[in-house]
């Protein structure tokens, strides 16, 4: 084998590119089976109510309707990624305690299955549901008060999770602090707005299994949850993902999987559903809105000596991944800094709002908005360059984090920040440290321009002791020569290009041309458990598994086994949960590090923000496919501009007022930064395959605080709440005396 990798580090075209661009690739909604029926779901009409009765007779009498399913048809009427706290269908008669209560408008109450989609839709309103309203609580602070309506038994004050950090001696820290800054940060909802709304097809496969064709992030976890609700062994359930039209965390939890399986199983016929955009926006979880209070102190020479924070996250009506999202935010709210004294309390709180859950960054964006806001305020208060101040405090290989342990080896925050700052063109390093040039002139008389910086860290892989592993199988076929290599790897290609890099890594591992590599992907009938495509983990985890399986298969090949087939499970170093009192833990086994610089203009008359340039620096360890990394950086930056500046999902009394893309505004081509400059650095992670680190969430996390810092640079005002809608910006400017005149 050559020393120089043949397939790693090359910007190969994506294997799925031609099919997707030409429209040939089927997504779940494109697939039809003979004799299929159509499903429509009746969602809850109330935010909190007991369902006294459901009368389906009129709906069932509607021409073309085959069957209406309600709670009493669900064998084990519960599901949930961590805690099974949500009924599959809300209503009486299922035997699951509390399943007769709807707790948010995303709850599903009944399923109409009909010969046509039109008939199912027409019958939907004919289902008569008798509700008895219960007191609702839609404000996260009110939900924590004594006497607030309780959503779930066993969670007093609706507190789903509470974590602590007690690190060093916080009082001693405050005594040392010469400068103190404070802030109350608020972050809003965000809708995933993936291209493909939820859709799927349930059917009985050729081996009699209940199969669901759907788009998700983890076939084996979907199978587990479907099996649980149907009361069937996992072997009798099969989950298949065709092409997946984006996910971003929004497909981690169940949407149509269980209900399709239920209907197909009960009717022994294929059943299909396609959600409208409105159903998608109402029917799946959102990024957690948070309130974060933070107080940090530093010495005059720029050493952060104390950090205190409280995070309150709105979980909505069910847990979903809230305990893990808030756990992540908990770790990141002190920033990637070596702070000797810290005190943090983090809460995830049930309310009657739609559920919150996983979304690219997984608690990181909220925490980073507060942490980097604090760091930028400190730099301002100290009169110190924000790059310089960060470099004095960043975590390094020998640093101890606020959870009492060091990071895994090869911490590169300092290098990432220095490279990003230098390549931005705004900063240079002189004899007396880092200095920034003034912002370029704004493009009009009513506009102001500023530059801001933020840095961050993000775990790669599951955290806090969660079981973490990835299975891969490599088959080498041929006789004298290798003719064909088959890789079995379930890792979901949610659009990030996983299937392309899996093949690159297999070709590299076996040492064959990539044309010989075939991938057998996400189908529980054909692959081992890969874990989810989330936590920026799939290249790292699947890469290690494929590399391991390739080595074993090659060994068998050399030992003349034909075909040479090897299966390998990669298990990373163990992590541990937070200590209840102190938070002490080894939370993660790998990290990615990032720094972003934003150049922003604001129209002080209208409040419109234009993100001119973003410099996005990342240590990716090893760029397996550099073009795909650039794609992830650009996509994440655009999504984060939406989060920071535009996307304003309005929930009033638990109801979403703008469940359309015509009213919930996401960036279009004219809203995106004029330039996104990726700075891709390759400092190997000794644990990563070929040194690779995960990177897909990282360019999202730091953007909002960088934009807020740039806005401060432009106007002298701190904006501690996102989204920075024109109205919010104008009203804040006026309050501070910056007028149109």
């Amino acid at each position: 084998m050559e020393d120089r990798p043949a397939w790693i580090g090359r910007s190969l075209h994506r294997v799925d590119a031609v099919g997707k661009v030409t429209g040939k690739t089927p997504f779940p909604g494109d697939i039809d089976l003979e004799g299929q029926l159509w499903m429509k779901i009746r969602f809850s009409d109330r935010v909190h109510a007991r369902i006294k009765s459901i009368d389906t007779s009129r709906a069932e009498a509607y021409p073309g309707v085959i069957r209406v399913f309600t709670a009493r048809d669900v064998p084990v009427n519960e599901y949930g990624l961590g805690i099974p706290d949500q009924p599959v269908l809300c209503g009486p008669g299922s035997g699951k305690e509390g399943a007769d209560i709807v707790r948010c408008i995303a709850d599903q109450v009944a399923l109409v299955v009909a010969e046509t989609e039109e008939a199912a839709a027409a019958a939907l309103p004919l289902i008569e549901i008798e509700y008895e309203d219960l007191p609702a609580v839609c404000d996260v602070l009110a939900a924590m008060q004594d006497g607030a309506p309780q959503l779930h038994a066993g969670y007093p004050n609706n507190i789903l999770c509470h974590y602590q950090i007690r690190h060093g001696d916080i009082e001693a820290g405050w005594r040392q602090a010469e400068v103190v800054v404070e802030g109350e940060y608020r972050t809003g909802y965000q809708e995933h707005a993936y291209l493909q709304p939820e859709a799927g097809l349930g059917f009985i496969d050729e081996e009699g299994r209940v199969a669901v064709i759907v788009a998700g992030q983890w076939v084996h976890k979907d199978r587990e949850q479907v099996a649980h609700a149907l009361g069937l062994p996992e072997e009798q359930i099969r989950i298949i993902y065709p092409a997946i039209g984006g996910a971003f965390g929004g497909r981690e939890d169940m949407s149509v999987q269980i209900v399709l399986a239920l209907a197909a199983w009960k009717l022994q016929r294929p059943v299909k559903i396609i959600w409208s955009r409105e159903e998608s926006i109402i029917g799946h979880h959102k990024r957690h809105p948070t309130i974060i209070r933070a107080k940090w102190g530093a010495t005059r020479d720029g050493r952060v000596v104390a950090a205190e924070a409280t995070i309150i996250g709105d979980s909505g009506a069910y847990a979903y991944t809230t305990p893990k999202v808030m756990g992540n935010a908990h770790l990141m709210v002190c920033g990637p800094y070596a702070i000797p004294n810290a005190k943090v309390d983090t809460y995830g709180v049930y309310t009657n709002n739609i559920p919150s859950g996983a979304f690219r960054g997984f608690g990181g964006p909220q925490a980073c908005f507060a942490a980097e806001g604090q760091m930028n305020k400190l730099a301002d208060a100290l009169g110190m360059d924000p790059v310089e101040l960060r470099l004095r405090n960043v975590l390094r290989d020998d640093s101890i984090t606020v959870v009492g342990t060091p990071l895994p080896p090869n911490v590169t925050l300092d290098k990432v920040l220095a490279e990003g700052a230098a390549q931005s063109g705004y900063w240079n390093q002189g004899a007396d440290g880092w200095r920034r040039a003034p912002a370029p002139p704004p493009s009009g008389p009513n506009r102001r321009r500023g530059i801001g910086v933020a840095i961050g860290f993000k775990n790669v892989g599951f955290s806090f002791g969660a079981p973490e592993q990835n299975w891969a199988t490599v088959e080498i076929h041929g006789n004298a020569e290798i003719e064909r290599v088959v890789v079995r790897q379930a890792g979901a290609d949610v659009g990030q290009g996983a299937h392309t890099v899996f093949r690159q890594m297999a070709a590299e591992g076996v040492g064959v041309p990539i044309e010989l590599v075939e991938l057998v992907g996400h189908d529980t009938a054909a692959t081992g458990n890969s874990g989810s495509s989330s936590a920026s983990r799939m290249t790292f985890m699947a890469g290690n598994a494929i590399k391991g399986a390739a080595e074993l298969a090659l060994q068998k090949w050399r030992e003349e086994e034909r075909p040479a087939i090897a299966t390998y499970q990669y298990v990373p170093p163990k992590t541990t949960p937070y200590d209840r009192e102190t938070g002490r833990s080894n939370p993660n086994f790998a990290y990615g590090y990032m720094a972003q610089i934003a150049d922003v203009e604001v129209d002080v008359e209208t409040g419109h923000i234009t993100v001119m340039r973003v410099i996005s620096a990342h240590d990716v360890g090893k760029a397996i496919n550099p073009q795909l990394i650039v794609g992830q950086v650009e996509g994440a930056v655009v999504q984060a501009v939406g989060y920071a500046v535009m996307e304003n999902l309005i929930s009033q009394d638990g109801r979403i007022l703008n469940p359309y893309l015509s009213t919930y505004l996401i960036p279009t081509v004219l809203d995106i930064p004029h330039e996104v400059k990726p700075v891709i650095l390759e400092y190997a992670d000794p644990r990563g395959p070929w040194g690779a680190r995960g990177m897909a969430e990282m360019p999202f996390i730091t953007l909002a605080p960088a934009v807020a810092a740039a806005l401060h640079d432009a106007t002298g005002i701190w904006f501690d709440q996102i989204p920075l809608t024109p109205e919010r910006v104008v009203m804040t400017l006026r309050q501070h005396g910056i007028d149109a005149l």
């Binding site: 989609e117 039109e118 839709a121 409105e278 008359e605 209208t606 409040g607 419109h608 535009m646 304003n648 309005i650 009033q652 007022l657 703008n658 359309y660 893309l661 015509s662 009213t663 919930y664 505004l665 279009t668 081509v669 004219l670 809203d671 024109p726 109205e727 104008v730 009203m731 006026r734 149109a740």
Partner: protein, 304 residues
């Protein structure tokens, strides 16, 4: 979802009218459909039995200069208006307003007539047509006649036209003469798939000295249930030199006479009030400058 059962593309007004009559209320006129089909899809409108597409009727797709007037067919797309040099030079605000409607695909399909017939209080094209004092050629209750454009509007989404039987045929606008100019600006993000927060069109005629405003028409929306002229603001400007003091007076008149409402997810009333100030300060001097110089280059149109 079935959005319609029959789709007709009549080639004459008479044929379109006859089709509407034959369906007796079960058909609707479609002129691009970028609003209509969304309304049906979202369930705001029951799917009609038939759609009568008027964009193949020559009379409704023509752009004809008649002396100092321009006659624009109701089926003319936004893109055609935006790319028309005569309109750009002599009805500039119409190009500027049609140029910010939706994205390129919507402008390629959506029509000026569709925009007006939708009767929103802040339709972009509508706002400029009101400032230009357009007239509309309509067939209402089987009778064909010309109406001042403002008489078409009855309420939000409600016009004099019954979309199941009436037809909006053409518009007539006066082209800018010497010492006349117009401008349109709106407040929203650069590319709209959404409704604007606020739009403002102004038409100005200067006196023979080129100093003072001899006449002005100003339309700001949404500030009422229908598109309206900002008459008190006009009064503050008429007869005055368009200088900073007059613009201040216009802003003051806007503050006292216009009361925009809060819409749930678009903007609050107080933000809109602020933005009326901003729009007046941007639009009035621009329209006056165009009137003074006789030169007009549309701003902010389409992809920058």
């Amino acid at each position: 979802m079935t959005l319609w059962t029959h789709y007709h593309t009549p080639s004459s007004l008479a044929e379109a009218h006859a089709l509407l009559q034959s369906y007796a209320g079960r058909a609707r006129v479609i002129a691009g459909g970028t609003d209509l089909l969304l309304d049906i899809r979202h369930g705001h409108l029951t799917p009609p039995e038939a759609l009568i597409d008027i964009t193949k009727i020559p009379e409704m797709c023509s752009l004809i200069q008649e002396g100092d007037d321009l006659v624009i067919g109701a089926g003319v797309t936004h893109t055609r208006i935006v790319t028309d040099a005569l309109i750009a030079a002599r009805a500039t605000c119409l190009v500027e307003s049609c140029g910010v409607v939706g994205g390129p695909q919507v402008r390629n399909v959506g029509t000026l007539g569709g925009n007006v017939a939708h009767a929103l209080p802040a339709g972009d094209g509508t706002t400029s047509l009101v400032a230009l004092d357009a007239w509309a050629d309509v067939i209402v209750r089987d009778e064909r006649r010309w109406l001042p454009i403002r008489e078409l509007f009855l309420g939000p989404g409600q016009s004099l036209l019954d979309p199941t039987r009436d037809l909006l045929v053409r518009f007539r606008i006066p082209l800018a003469q010497e010492r006349e100019g117009s401008a349109f600006k709106r407040i929203m993000r650069p590319q709209g798939v959404a409704l604007p927060i606020l739009g403002c069109a102004a038409w100005v005629r200067l006196d023979s000295s080129g100093e003072r405003c001899e006449d002005i028409r100003l339309c700001i929306g949404p500030v009422d249930r229908v598109p309206v002229r900002a008459e008190q603001v006009e009064a503050a400007v008429r007869g005055q030199p368009i200088d900073p003091a007059t613009v201040d007076a216009a802003v003051a008149a806007g503050r006292t006479s216009l009361s925009p409402r809060t819409s749930k997810y678009r903007a609050t009333a107080s933000y809109r009030q602020e933005m009326i100030d901003v729009l007046l300060r941007r639009v009035l001097p621009l329209a006056a400058e165009r009137a003074r110089t006789g030169q007009a280059v549309p701003e902010g149109v389409g992809m920058e």
